[in-house]
Symmetry: C2
Subunit: 312 residues, 2 copies
């Protein structure tokens, strides 16, 4: 079992976890959560997205959140925001954002339906954005949605991913995220795809974002680790949905992913007790339980402590 010594765990709950929650979470509450997250040890946090406020009202205060965070969050913490277009880059720059994520779908049909253009059209429209971001000192993470399968096409041929990554590469983007948007990845496809991509683009750092609709999220993380990936997204309380199945589980839960790392001795720099307090707080804020096993069961250490305290 090949496992890394250390990984970067990115909390994306403020963006992907909250964006579809019906309860509106105010900027002050988000800021408090962000402080808790940073206090737990995260050094990369996805805080929001610069999308149309009428489409995703929960994300409307992303600029405000970033501006207010600047005063309190240490400078070595990377605060990321998702942007869909040039307007998003301008908004990000205006709020002092230093790290943006931008995405293309590997599924031609998905990209057309979502963005009304083909993947290659999307990505060539991004090229000038990449240049301007670089000039403004903003780092860019390129992402590939549906990187492990699409409900329209089924499997996605490697060339369809590679043609996107090649553009990122040419634009000197050093980090590329692979998203399992429809929760179709399996440990086998993950291992194969990640290994092939790393071999083909050895100077690019790939990261992964798994959904958990079919309960394979953590197994997919292990497969990606086996293929050499060392950066993964998680969402507090396992919030966030599957865009295609209303009742399905969302992102991998940060608590479960961190617990896996702790149990395997993989260093993250993050404190699980603090993370669990955040998870419980988030569940109170959104008013319902998410999809986190560890928030329900506690860690093994919690169990051992409880049994020892009870003296039974």
């Amino acid at each position: 079992m090949k496992l890394p010594e250390k990984i970067t765990l990115v909390e994306v709950g403020l963006r992907d976890g909250l964006q579809n929650e019906p309860v509106r979470v105010g900027t002050q509450k988000k800021l408090e959560l962000l402080k808790d997250i940073v206090g737990a040890g995260f050094r990369a946090v996805e805080v929001g997205s610069f999308v149309r406020p009428d489409k995703v009202p929960q994300m409307a205060d992303t600029g405000e959140l970033l501006r207010r965070a600047a005063g309190t969050v240490p400078a070595d913490v990377e605060l990321r925001a998702l942007i869909p277009n040039r307007r998003g880059l301008e908004d990000a720059a205006a709020s002092g954002c230093k790290s943006i994520k931008i995405g293309v779908s590997a599924s031609r049909i998905h990209n057309q339906r979502n963005y009304n253009r083909l993947p290659e059209e999307s990505i060539s429209a991004f090229e000038s954005i990449f240049e301007d971001a670089a000039k403004a000192g903003i780092s860019v993470i390129g992402t590939v949605q549906m990187a492990f399968g699409s409900p329209w096409e089924g499997g996605i041929p490697p060339e369809q991913i590679e043609s996107i990554v090649r553009v990122y590469d040419r634009c000197r983007i050093e980090k590329v995220g692979l998203g399992d948007t429809a929760s179709m990845a399996t440990p086998r496809t993950v291992y194969r795809r990640c290994s092939e991509l790393r071999e083909r683009f050895p100077h690019i750092r790939f990261k992964a974002h798994f959904h958990n609709a079919r309960g394979l999220g953590l197994s997919n993380v292990l497969a990606a680790m086996g293929a050499g990936l060392t950066e993964f997204d998680g969402a507090f309380a396992g919030l966030g949905g599957c865009p295609f199945v209303p009742n399905a589980a969302g992102n991998i839960s940060t608590e479960d992913l961190l617990n896996l790392c702790d149990e395997l001795g993989i260093e993250t720099g993050i404190d699980i007790d603090k993370v669990m307090r955040i998870g419980h707080k988030v569940e109170r804020i959104v008013g319902h339980a998410g999809n986190s096993f560890v928030l329900r069961a506690g860690t093994v250490q919690n169990l051992i402590d409880r049994i020892s305290a009870a003296g039974k």
Copy 2:
């Protein structure tokens, strides 16, 4: 990634899934579920246990269920029952049961608290039961509870497991189940323990029974497969609890485990659409949702079919 071509998936929901459910499920309903289970393709089903009816009332009709099943379930289907002692063997024999499971805990403290004796005392008391079962033509599966850790002792040293397996081996028991009773297993401990045991006892077939309190059940199955195991338990709808944490998830869900096998091309002989119908039926019978991802989200094929039918 080393994976088997084929595995045996055992439905244990009628026993481990139902035993702690407050709703009493009648024998006729259990018989119907058993027929559905066999109809879905399972060739090994754990139907109940011969324990004290005042302790586990849900299992009180195990003998009756086995007698009634004899007329309808094909002879090549193995119907298993758990027995705790000699009395259990007599009851099993009287109901025509041909396959029993008997267990010892690898945790000395757990075994003492549960059975009021040390593991070595438990297992030597079993030796004459094994002999009598063999004479009666009843096959025995020996199990080891807490095989991957105990909330009292933490890790369980290999010798503690091996001393139990040695007795099973001496008594010509060919199949030994390893149970993650407190949901403490990790893919690393599973891989290591299963590999070591297989090497030390090459003529014993080991099987595994994982709980899913911390969401690692499927990852642990993959690790056990990597170590050469090819028989796993699952419970319909992911029912069954963790004996130590009231709200935690129970057994691995049969639907999720089967979906994993289907997605990886591992043959089981079991039809997932039928299995999902059983899972939904069981949730209606017990009156609440279990812990199954695939019952909520459907399979990838369901998603592809739905998107294709909607023409979107």
